[in-house]
């Protein structure tokens, strides 16, 4: 796994505060285990098939089934979940969920309190870039993880730029170490 922490889109320079690089998938496992109120945000690109014929949405479903982390489907991603017989906790626009996560007084989808960890996957790179930035600057007590295979520097933690196989393997490890299959 390469640990070169460069934004995938090279001009998308962030900082001084930049995402810590997830060198090992175990970091994600530890973050999820430590989180009291995690949430998973899934964008429409997760429904696209990568060259190795894996859809990220499948990992999202497996992650949910393993951990119970609520899934928010952005844009029309919900349709793909429904086709697979999975009901996301909510369907809302990426901006809406970003705006709510920013609000430390928001009690979450279930009304039980604010989230402390948001994991993002499947949004267009540049859109996730700015939303993560909004959360970095304006949320309190929220950590963010970018699970896309490109380094996204405004997250708290992000995968580095990864090849598809390494990315897939990371998900397999995360799910397995969290007790799933």
């Amino acid at each position: 796994m390469s640990a070169k922490a460069e934004p995938w889109q090279k001009a998308e320079i962030a900082g001084p505060q930049k995402a810590l690089v997830i060198m090992k998938p175990e970091v994600v496992v530890a973050m999820i285990k430590r989180a009291k109120r995690p949430i998973l945000i899934i964008g429409h690109l997760a429904t696209k098939t990568d060259p190795e014929n894996v859809k990220m949405i499948d990992y999202a479903i497996r992650l949910n089934k393993t951990t119970g982390i609520p899934v928010v489907a952005t844009a029309h991603t919900a349709h793909e979940f429904v086709k697979q017989g999975f009901q996301p906790a909510a369907s809302m626009s990426a901006m809406d969920i970003g705006n709510r996560l920013k609000d430390s007084n928001w009690n979450g989808l279930d009304g039980k309190g604010p989230y402390d960890l948001a994991l993002f996957m499947g949004l267009p790179y540049y859109m996730e870039f700015v939303i993560l930035s909004g959360l970095k600057h304006f949320s309190t007590n929220l950590k963010t993880i970018s699970l896309n295979r490109y380094y996204n520097p405004h997250a708290s933690w992000s995968f580095p730029n990864l090849k598809v196989e390494a990315w897939n393997q990371s998900f397999e490890t995360i799910i397995s170490k969290l007790g799933g299959n």
């Binding site: 995938w8 889109q9 090279k10 001009a11 998308e12 320079i13 962030a14 900082g15 001084p16 505060q17 964008g43 429409h44 952005t74 844009a75 029309h76 919900a78 349709h79 429904v82 086709k83 909510a90 369907s91 626009s93 990426a94 901006m95 809406d96 970003g98 705006n99 709510r100 920013k102 928001w106 949004l123 267009p124 790179y125 540049y126 859109m127 700015v130 939303i131 930035s133 909004g134 970095k136 600057h137 304006f138």
Partner: protein, 786 residues
Amino acid sequence: MIIRLTKKGLLVKAKELKTDVAVIKNLEVSIGKIVDETWEEPEGPTPFPSITDLRDWDFKLLQRYKPFYLPFCDVCCLCTFGKCDLSGDKRGACGLNMAAQQSRIVLLACCIGAATHIAHARHLIDHLIEKYGRDIPLDQGGLNIDIEAPVTRLVCGIRPKTLNDLEDALDWAEEQVTHCLSATHTGQEGSNIDFESKAFHAGMADQVGMEIADLAQISVLGFPKADPEAPLVELGFGVADVKKPTILVIGHNVPSSVGIIDYMTKKKLMGKVEVVGICCTAHDITRYNPSAKIVGPISWQLRYIRSGLADLIVVDEQCIRADTLEEAQKVNTPVIASSPKNCLGLENSTEEPANELISRLVESKVPGVLIFDTDKVGEVAVETAMAVAPKRNKFKIIPDIEEIIAAGQACTGCNECIRACPNNQPITEAMKAAAKGDLNPLAAILEECVGCARCDSACPNDFPLHSFMVKAGEDNLWKEKYMMRCGRGAIQDVEIREVGGPIVLGEIPGVVAIVGCANYPDGNEAVAKIAEEFAKRRFIVVTSGCAAMSAAMVKDEEGKTLYEKYPGGFEAGGILNVGSCVSNPHIAGAAIKIASIFAKRNLRANYEEIADYIHNRVGAVGLAWGAMSQKAASIASGFWRLGVPVIVGPHGSKYRRMLLGRKDKEEDWYVYDARTGDKVYVGPAPEHLFTTAETKEEAMVMIAKLCMRPNDTTKGRSIKLTHYIDLHKRYYGVMPDDIHLFVRNKMDIPITMKPEVLKILEEKGWKETKIPDPTLLKRMIRKKVD
């Protein structure tokens, strides 16, 4: 004695004036402006408003639609105190925090956009006055239009009748942008909400500037005047007969292109030289003369230039590639720059004789010339193009297939091209395929390419990757031949009379304005698909700018484009192109005229009341699917202040601030009932003022939803809910989870969906609410308190 009517008003001078009581020497009386005493409509509270006059209204909107800031980076680098790290709760050396800094950036963008349109208007007015005189009457549409300048009436409180009259409004707009821009200086404004209010103000001034520009050119240059049947014009890469000498005009400000047409007409050269355009100048030249042709939106610049089809390029201003001169030199195409705002480093040759300039260009002694005289531009452009064409022989720099295959084989797969591509297109994979002789993947990328050529710049091997794509896709490019209805200009008063009621009552489910640039995430097709979806649903679909072109670039099975299939009137199911960027105020103007013509509200300097009316009653939504520029930001801002929601495509998230409502906060969605003074919950209608759609499917669902307004009748709300639910089910696969927020009583529920909606209402614990006479303004309450 001298009595002179200047542009500022009346000036009376007398060296010696003898009266019964005195002798007055060197008398000089200056009257600032002539007041229109014939206008019976009373003046509202905010004529020529200052930057704070509408602040209270802005705050009402911003209280409901709070900014969500999306910074690009953590720092501010606008002064030498910096860079300052503004992350977390830090403040910069000047004391500014991140929220204020982001709103400051928004204001800067709006000022740049507004200044651009207003300066465009100033140039046009000065040019037209110099050429045709001050007293040319304004005419948007003859007897079909009584309210000639709805935005200017509303904002400034004047009723312009001649070119001369427009200058007061233009002076005001220029002053406002200067004030707004000054607020962004270090140590001025410190509040993010006040920055936002000023951004709204810049957007409103922009609307005035644009209206002036289009009103002037429509009146003087004989553009279609509010014509639902404006001529169909040809559009596409393949429409020009490039065997003829071809002149390509690029930009937004049409006088130099008019100079070309006029010269060709004078010399009887029409039909012998092709005039084609890119971007809004193309719109406006076809409005001037429908025999001109449109190549396409802004993203078509490089592919056309590199294909060598233009024998001469004339650039004016705005959205023109900064490397046009360099790119043109590669294909031996001379360039004429014609705007003081875009001189390209060329020597000013305005005063030199035309024949000398022509010979210099024809003999390639200079790559281009700078000419500010539009008539001279016409002569030099046409004569040069005719002389250069045989010499150039359409020389191009599009590589042949062998060269692409060789490059594919030499490509190291470093991915620098993909990482530079705004849309992450799989260029490396396409080059791998090209290495084996398969150019189809490169051709597929061209379909979704925004034409920025950042891939070219990034390639360490200096491969002209964009040109590779053009070669791969050239068969498709040559087939690009479409028909677009040219810009019709304003909406007629009679059209407003017919649809004003159904719009306000909600029976026409909405007005969708599809506008803006061509920075699309996935090609042109989305715009046409969205436009047709809503036209079929009997919304009114209005287009302008590059989006209007993209809407034309899809044909049905019979080979017809949307403009050939749908009527061009402001009517249910119509698709109407109002024109170029500066035509956007016709869309705002239609909403404003609904308040005036249908509801008999006074417009004159009565901005707040009319914005309140539009926000609560007129189900209009803007979609700028490919918004790219600062102009697009200021255009959107002008709509925000009117309370009209705007959606941008995913790249629009980079405007760095959204204005989002929170439907989960019931307290945000109360209005006054103007009849009783009661505060009434009306649901999140409209839910947002500015937001991003990630996909075209999401955009369609959002549009349907954002058309709902508190004033909808039960019949109207039922129709609007039908569209929202239907689109949601189609694209999301399920019922929306917020229907209960939009159903006020059971009559609102679409009949065919009643069982499933009632079930949801029961689950959500829904309760019936009143339908008020909605207003956000306490002063609009009619009930008298004893």
